[in-house]
């Protein structure tokens, strides 16, 4: 699992807004076998950013998600993706925040049965710069 990001932030309505671009290369397996067995209907994949700020001990923001149905290729190879959702902080905790951890997780939706949430084994730590950027085209 590998991600590369470049980012800049801007204040919006007095809350920090972060912009992240990323690549994802992933192979979704379940204990070394293909995750799509007879009881797996689909996977709901999501990329979440986890960090802590002065305001809040723990923050988690989902930046991007994808639904992968049974029959789709469990290999992901996405380049230069922009976040699907606005990465707003609750306050101004993104500026100068050195440690934002991005992880890929997924929700296994069975045909019937338990709904587990699994976190991928790779993760990437990303720092945000100390200064705001004035409006850039995104």
């Amino acid at each position: 699992l590998r991600k590369n990001v470049e980012d800049f932030t801007g204040p919006r309505e007095r809350s920090d807004l972060g912009f992240v671009t990323f690549d994802i290369t992933a192979d979704i397996l379940n204990r070394k076998k293909c995750i799509f067995d007879w009881n797996v209907k689909q996977l709901f994949l999501y990329l979440s950013a986890e960090y802590s700020t002065k305001n809040n001990a723990l923050n988690q923001v989902v930046l991007w998600d994808k639904i992968m149905l049974r029959g789709d290729n469990p290999r992901l190879s996405l380049k230069d993706m922009k976040s699907k959702y606005f990465f707003f902080d609750d306050g101004n905790g993104l500026k100068g925040n050195r440690n934002i951890t991005l992880t890929l997780s997924w929700n296994v939706v069975p045909n019937a049965g338990i709904l587990p949430l699994v976190t991928g084994s790779g993760h990437v730590s990303v720092p945000f710069p100390d200064t705001y950027e004035t409006t850039k085209s995104y």
């Binding site: 305001n55 959702y85 709904l115």
Partner: protein, 196 residues
Amino acid sequence: RWGRGSGWPRSGGIRGGAAMDLFGDLRRMNKRQLYYQVLNFAMIVSSALMIWKGLIVVTGSESPIVVVLSGSMEPAFHRGDLLFLTNFHDDPIRAGEIVVFKVEGRDIPIVHRVIKVHEKGNGNIKFLTKGDNNEVDDRGLYKEGQNWLEKKDVVGRARGFLPYVGMVTIIMNDYPKFKYALLAVMGAYVLLKRES
């Protein structure tokens, strides 16, 4: 049965004969047997209620089994699917989890996914939800001026699911005549069933 003779009037066809037998049974039951049947029925209802209350205690959720009412979580869940919830106090709310919540003042539970979590050091959590199949987050569904959900709004977290089974509840809601008919049939069956 309708070849019995011995004073039983033959009515037209098999259905007539079975109805006569049913009323015959009723007439032959004395008061004691009727009370016995009623107690039997009451025991079944009480057991069902006890199981439901037990589930509420074990899961910590006020409504441990819910039916999906809308298509906002498709293609994972469809209208009529059944969800099993837990609501343990110590389970933290985390991004990606599927929660069932009620907006303050409204009765209808909503099943959506948590997409943002902000938790303070003292354990106070506020979070935002969105249906997988919706374009926008749920802020439009919350109360006027409300931007976040809190733990108290949560009915439970979805842990397991069964497809289609909840359709019965939806049909009974949309067609009350069906519900009464079903209850009448069940009641008649239990009251008239005789243990041999």
